[in-house]
Amino acid sequence: MRDINLNIKPGSFTAVIGQTGSGKSTLIQHLNALLKPSSGTVTIGDRTIDATTKNKHLKPLRKKVGIVFQFPENQLFEETVLKDIAFGPQNFGVPTDEAMTLAKKMALLVGLDESLLKRSPFDLSGGQMRRVAIAGVLALEPEVLVLDEPTAGLDPRGRLEIMQLVTQLQSEQDLTIVLITHQMDDVANYADHVIVMAHGEMVKQGTPRAIFSDADWLESYQLGLPSATRFANQLIKAGFTFDPMPLTEDELADQLLPQLSKE
């Protein structure tokens, strides 16, 4: 990975897109100081990390940025759901009873039923386990939540529910969201800023509308368009006009309607 300059604003929803192996995963490990930059700096809030930062100074940063890795259910290990969620805060010195209260709050926040809290995490369904893992990261009370393909392997309903949870966290908990995804429709529906990665470099950043305005450029990086934008491009060939380019089906429908005859 080389020469990346980017800013993520508090409270924003940033999507990171790029092909598999484009450096997305390396990027998020820097956001959480799991990796130290070999050159350059990463600044999180008022703290700066560079190649010389001592490892013991990194830990407070990990509390600020919570990462939900791909297939996060693979990190569960405790006897009960509640204990697993409380594991993170305890590592940061939160007393046990406080951590448990926090864990319960987070479990309810991600939509886990209270009856599940005393169960073993391994007894839950895949979707529920994923919620436990997300709650475990939220329990660190981070300011930034990074999610690496949180919907991978879920069915359409599961995907929708997780994405709704993420937007709810952004709006109600004032979390800054960084989402790594292959789903362009999710980018169009939820993000306000997009970072495009390729070959370990950031090749472009901007609003979703700016990024998705150039289909050919995206194609050159093997990336696609949101369904609505792709469909709008077909309609342009049929004589319709759009300004700006629609990103979601609602935007598309809104612009389409005035162009249709009302019988």
Binding site: F77, E79, S120, F122, D123
Partner: protein, 170 residues
């Protein structure tokens, strides 16, 4: 039930293979440097004890023997390969024999005996290869390694034990 016996058999081959692989992985992954000696201790005994305690003597012996062999093969200590096969195999067998599916205190005893078998086995090996006194050098390190492995195995296998039927897909 239809072809139930064969079914268990393929699954058993595969989970033993996975346990061997995990044991090799944790031995290569977690090297704890030991002060005052020539090197590191690894966690292979933990993997072997976990297999032995969860599944029993035969399985413990297989996981022990093959992970010992593979570990030496991958790390370039081929001269130890067959000795490790026997020593770790015996270690797993003994630990599984005494401690498989038993009370927690019995498990501790089983692992302690396993450690003794392992330490004695390597001492004998080194004595054969390099002489009696040189063999003594390895004893303290192997001892620490075995004890650490046993402690780790205890804390991992106790919670896993109740999950076992489900993990084996039953």
């Amino acid at each position: 039930m239809m072809e139930n016996k064969r079914h268990t058999s393929t699954r058993e081959i595969v989970y033993l293979a996975m346990l061997i692989a995990v044991t090799v992985v944790i031995s290569r992954f977690f090297l704890i440097p030991v002060p005052m000696t020539h090197g590191n201790i690894n966690l292979c005994d933990a993997g072997i004890f976990i297999a032995a305690i969860l599944l029993g003597r035969k399985q413990g012996a297989i996981v022990g023997a093959f992970s010992g062999l593979l570990l030496d093969l991958i790390s370039g200590y081929t001269q130890y390969m067959f000795f490790s096969f026997i020593v770790h195999g015996l270690e797993g067998f003994v630990a599984g024999w005494i401690g498989g599916n038993k009370k927690n205190t019995t498990k501790v005893v089983a692992m302690a005996v396993g450690v003794v078998v392992m330490v004695a086995g390597y001492w004998l090996t080194d004595t054969l290869l390099y002489g009696f006194k040189v063999g003594l050098i390895g004893v303290p390190t192997n001892f620490i390694q075995g004890i650490v492995g046993g402690i780790v195995a205890y804390f991992v296998s106790v919670p896993l034990e109740s999950r076992l039927p489900r993990l084996l897909g039953e």
